[in-house]
């Protein structure tokens, strides 16, 4: 049962575990993410993840986004006001708005099958279904090779984040998961 809420916050659906592509010279900060994609440059092995070239960083007027140590964009929960500018500029559609008190997220939107994802990424969802099985609220389903959380059903208990063997599902409070990011 969804509640209407006004306050929102940006969430990045990628934990940045992909292997970098061996492609020297590709991915200049001037061209950014969109430029790199349009130029056909391969930045990371994963075909769905964050390129880390900072289109969202540039778009954010509050300095709330940085590219973290894993190469994926990270939102500072203190600074973000949920304006949504970053959502529009991400060429891979990895950023969306959620509720600020909501802390559990699936940080992967790869549609590749499990073995492929496992090969190219350390944190990507391999569609193993452990989260779906352990979710007490029936809020997670593995669809299109990735875990999807129905936030209307989710009670943010963190069970999926604890059970996820890949660290795909993250906890923005960083209590249930110890992030590399």
């Amino acid at each position: 049962m969804a509640q209407k809420r006004t306050k929102r916050m940006a969430v990045v659906n990628c934990a940045g575990g992909s292997t970098r592509a061996e492609n020297p010279g590709a991915g200049s900060p001037q061209n950014g993410c969109r430029g790199a994609l349009e130029a056909g440059e391969k930045i990371i092995e994963c075909g769905y993840g964050c390129l880390g070239l900072g289109d969202c960083v540039a778009a954010c007027k509050l300095g709330a986004i940085t590219v973290g140590p894993t190469g994926a964009a990270v939102v500072d929960r203190e600074k973000c006001v949920g304006c949504g500018l970053c959502v529009g500029v991400c060429p891979r559609g990895l950023i969306r708005l959620s509720e600020p008190e909501f802390n559990i997220f699936t940080r992967c939107q790869s549609a590749a099958d499990g073995p492929t994802t496992r090969k190219v990424c350390a944190t990507g969802c391999i569609a193993c279904g452990i989260c779906e099985k352990n979710c007490p609220a029936g809020a997670i389903t593995v669809t299109g090779n990735r875990a999807v959380i129905d936030e209307a059903k989710c009670i943010a208990c963190g069970m999926c984040a604890v059970k996820c063997p890949r660290g795909t599902i993250g906890d923005d409070w960083k209590i249930f998961t110890i992030d590399r990011a």
Binding site: P136, I155, G158
Partner: protein, 859 residues
């Protein structure tokens, strides 16, 4: 073991080498029992603690992941915070069964640490992860608001409220169990730790219906730490059952299981961890058989018989007047079929019992149940022992709602304790509890109701089919109440009701708040709206025209007593109903208080003066509804003594006289009257002693209350079926999106004993009724429950509408228990049909099945 995982708990550093759920570490290693184990799945919130400022569930977090964290439990709150929460939760009536309360306190504390002046929506959001099944959340939200006000310095703790010098009937009584429940030191059976205590648990059937071919426990027995494995052969008499003894304690080799809750063998081990391993090592061979899934399959010709007497477990026929002729000559007749689901009680505390050998030839069991004498009776049948050799003592009961009337773990714990000659704890996991204990009966029913041109009811014909699942449990009386109450609280005399309860391989069905009446009154009240439409009058008007009044005759022939106030409840909600046209639904209900129908339903109490206190001995389970407090109020009212001079000694079959089951909304009235009678005698003695209680030291005052009733179908012009009836009218109001916005719940429960408590009872009952109407289901796949605790559809704090609890108190009251009639069950009965009526008013679609489909809540 290397203590590699370190963290602080309540300011003290602790270390462990074991990676396990933090819940287990806090409870088992640190003995912090405020952290309750309600599901261990992350769904219920009873184990909520604060970790680095955030409220989280300790069953989810592990010791390994907690390294370096700062952890806070209720035990670690400051004195000021403890006092603020205790006072606020007591003053607002936030505490009923109490099992969710420490978790609520911690969720509230985490919020108040961030925001000491939260709005109501902010509080609801903060409590979204915490389920409460008793209160309907409203009183907990108010408790947190008052706590915040106290911590802000804007409200004050008034110690005299808790002290309770003025504690009589009708005063705002601060419940006696608030402090222990808020601070988490009150003991539920799972909080018992005894030296040398072992743990027991049953291996349960893999299939709903299968022949057990063999049980091989050799590998389990070989595991170090396993003490014994018992099977049906080890049970002196392998049958239990609340009324009908049809329930196998364990399924013997060669016998056929009846549902997935059936026990195959009982494993006893040194620890819960070894127990889990050992259970997996037991090898059971089955021959799987096709289950009987539905009433239709059970009643079909040639159906497999699940019990020796066939599949028809119980039937009833209730007839007065000539319903056929009356309906034939009626101006308007409406006939509809209705279907309602099994419902899970979902009490927050899963079943748990601790048994131990007692004296030379006795056994004692600590339990959480609705009647210690019932439990004693069932165990005595199983053991073939004189009942006196079994001592049953209730600890705190974390909710019951009817689901703790049958034995579940008590008899298992007794078997185990006698086998290993040590204390043994047996508790059900949450899923085991859901799969095992009896539900509210699923119903398929057809109601035909007629009226004349003015909307005056003429007669009713009704067929009620109940799925009673694998065992009878309380099928007989529940079916009977469904039949006798299917007529509603109205004045008409032609009734023909047929009720049937069929065995299937589904989980058993038994007692559940409302006791069959939720089902049949849903059908009746929905039909009434259709008749009103035909007559051209409003749903309110048709009810008012037919409403029972003092002196008039109910459809069962009973003359309504002087306290009857159904019309007053209708009047109380009239404006709310009429000012929301197209968005409001209305329904009435009646519910018996007391078992009635000719049974020897007795209340018993003994008051003893000891060490300057009046001690109340009366075995009447307080399952959260608050009767333990009510009894003290009765004594206070009769004697003028304050709460501080009166003690309730709880339920122990060795010490307190049997005052019957907590069932049928009977404790306030039946036991309450026995206590009042004894207290009046005590008062007379006190007056004779010049008001000096010390002079009565050692004196005892005993009373037994019994108001005879007539059995069902008694050949009398006006049989009296029940000592009393409570009445109610509910109005459910929707918003334009079809969400329930408000509920007005007007109740006639006679004299209100505790105004704080009754509101919480009504609000909680309404929310349970709304869940029944809108969100709760119990899906089965070939007789196997599919729901987990978190997917039952229980409403959360963010889902609640504004519930207005209204009680009408008349001057004319029954001469028992100061005029109190009981509120336990009726609060949950009219809500579902009122909600149905509201949707019908909105879109004209008659929703005949619960939970209703095509609403805001369910597509």
């Amino acid at each position: 073991m290397d203590n590699k995982y370190s963290f602080t708990v309540n300011g003290i550093t602790h270390s462990t080498g074991e990676d396990k759920p933090l819940l287990r570490f806090l409870r088992d290693d640190l003995h912090l029992h405020s952290v309750k184990d309600g599901c261990s799945e992350g769904a219920c919130g009873t184990c909520t603690i604060i970790v680095d400022g955030k409220a989280i569930k300790s069953c989810v977090l592990t010791t390994k992941r907690a390294v370096g964290r700062s952890i806070l439990t209720v035990e670690g709150l400051s004195e000021r915070e403890k006092e603020a929460f205790v006072y606020a939760f007591g003053a607002k009536g936030s505490v009923q069964c109490g099992f969710c309360i420490p978790g609520m306190v911690m969720a509230g504390k985490a919020l108040l640490d961030q925001n000491l002046n939260p709005t109501e929506p902010e509080i609801k959001k903060a409590l979204r992860g915490n389920i409460c099944r008793c209160t309907g959340y409203k009183k907990i939200i108010e408790g947190i608001q008052l706590t915040a006000a106290i911590l802000r310095g804007e409200a004050e703790i008034e110690p005299e409220l808790e002290a309770g010098a003025d504690y009589g009937v009708g005063s705002r009584a601060f419940r006696i169990d608030v402090r222990e429940k808020v601070l988490g030191y009150g003991e539920y059976p799972d909080d018992i730790e005894l030296p040398d205590m072992a743990h027991g648990s049953c291996v349960r059937s893999k299939y709903p219906r299968a022949r057990v071919l063999s049980i091989d426990a050799s590998k389990a027995l070989a595991l170090p730490g396993v003490l014994a494995v018992l099977t049906a052969e080890d049970v002196p008499n392998n049958k239990v059952g609340h009324i009908q003894q049809d329930w196998d304690v364990m399924i013997a080799v060669g016998d056929v299981t009846r549902y997935v809750g059936d026990a195959i063998c009982l494993v006893i081990a040194e620890s819960e961890a070894i127990l889990e391993k050992a259970k997996k090592l037991v090898q059971v061979e089955y021959e799987e058989l096709t289950p009987v899934r539905t009433i239709q399959e059970a009643s079909a010709e040639g159906a497999d018989e699940l019990h020796p007497g066939g599949n028809l477990c119980q039937k009833r026929r209730v007839v007065r007047g000539d319903a056929k002729a009356a309906l034939k000559s009626s101006k308007y007749v409406v006939s509809q079929m209705y279907k309602t689901p099994f419902t899970e009680h979902a009490f927050l505390e899963p079943e748990c019992a601790v048994a131990l050998p007692w004296g030379d030839d006795a056994v004692k069991v600590y339990t959480t149940d609705q009647g210690v004498y019932d439990t004693r009776h069932e165990i005595s049948i199983m053991l073939g022992w004189a009942p006196e050799r079994i001592v049953v003592e209730n600890k705190l009961v974390g909710g019951g709602f009817g689901g703790k009337e049958d034995v579940s773990v008590q008899h298992i714990a007794v078997l185990a304790a006698l086998a290993v000659k040590r204390p043994v704890k047996v508790k059900l996991s949450r899923q085991e509890s859901i799969n095992f204990h009896p539900k509210r009966h699923a119903m398929e029913g057809t109601v035909t109701l007629g009226c004349d041109e003015n909307g005056i009811f003429t007669g009713i014909d009704c067929d009620i089919y109940f799925d009673t699942g694998a065992y009878a449990s309380l099928c007989g009386p529940v079916l009977e109440r469904a039949c006798t109450h299917s007529v509603g609280p109205y004045c008409y005399q032609n009734t023909e009701i047929r009720g049937y309860g069929y065995y299937t391989n589904n989980p058993p069905a038994g007692a559940y708040r409302g006791f069959g009446v939720c089902q049949s009154e849903f059908a009746l009240e929905s039909n009434i709206n259709l008749l009103a439409e035909k007559v051209g009058i409003s749903p309110w008007e048709i009810r008012y025209r037919n409403a029972i009044e003092p002196g008039k005759v109910l459809p069962n022939g009973q003359i309504a007593d002087c306290s009857t106030a159904l019309k007053e409840t209708l009047e109380a909600v009239k404006e709310a109903y009429e000012s929301n046209p197209g968005r409001a639904g209305i329904a009435c209900a009646m519910k018996n208080a007391g078992v009635g129908v000719g049974l020897p339903d007795k209340g018993r109490a003994r008051l003893t003066v000891k060490d300057g206190f009046v001690e109340i001995y009366s075995a009447a389970s307080d399952i959260g509804q608050g009767c333990a407090t009510v009894f003290i109020q009765m004594v206070a009212e009769a004697t003028g003594l304050g709460r501080g001079q009166i003690k309730n000694m709880g339920c122990n079959s060795d010490l307190a006289p049997d005052s019957g089951t907590t069932s049928g909304s009977r404790q306030t009235l039946i036991t309450g009257e026995a206590i009042r009678m004894a207290a009046v005698d005590l008062k007379a003695a006190l007056d004779a002693a010049g008001g000096d209680l010390e002079k009565l030291e050692g004196k005892e005052f005993y009373a037994e209350f019994y108001d005879p009733t007539d059995k069902l179908g008694a050949d009398l012009p006006n049989p009296k079926s029940h000592v009393a009836y409570g009445f109610a009218t509910h109005v459910v109001i929707l918003d334009d999106e079809g969400r329930v916005k408000e509920v007005y719940a007007a109740h006639d429960s006679g004299k209100v004993v505790n105004p704080i408590a009754i509101q919480g009872q009504i609000e909680g009952g309404v929310l349970m009724g709304l869940g029944y109407a809108l969100t709760e289901d119990f899906p089965l796949k070939d007789c196997v429950p599919q729901a987990k605790y978190g997917t039952l559809g229980l409403m959360r704090a963010t889902d609640i509408p504004d519930i207005h609890a209204i009680y009408v108190e008349k001057d004319e009251q029954l001469p028992f228990a100061y005029g109190a009639k009981g509120i336990g069950e009726i609060a949950t009965i009219p809500t579902a049909p009122a909600a149905q009526g509201a949707y019908y008013a909105m879109d004209g679609i008659l929703r005949r099945k619960l939970p209703m489909e095509n609403t805001y809540y369910r597509k």
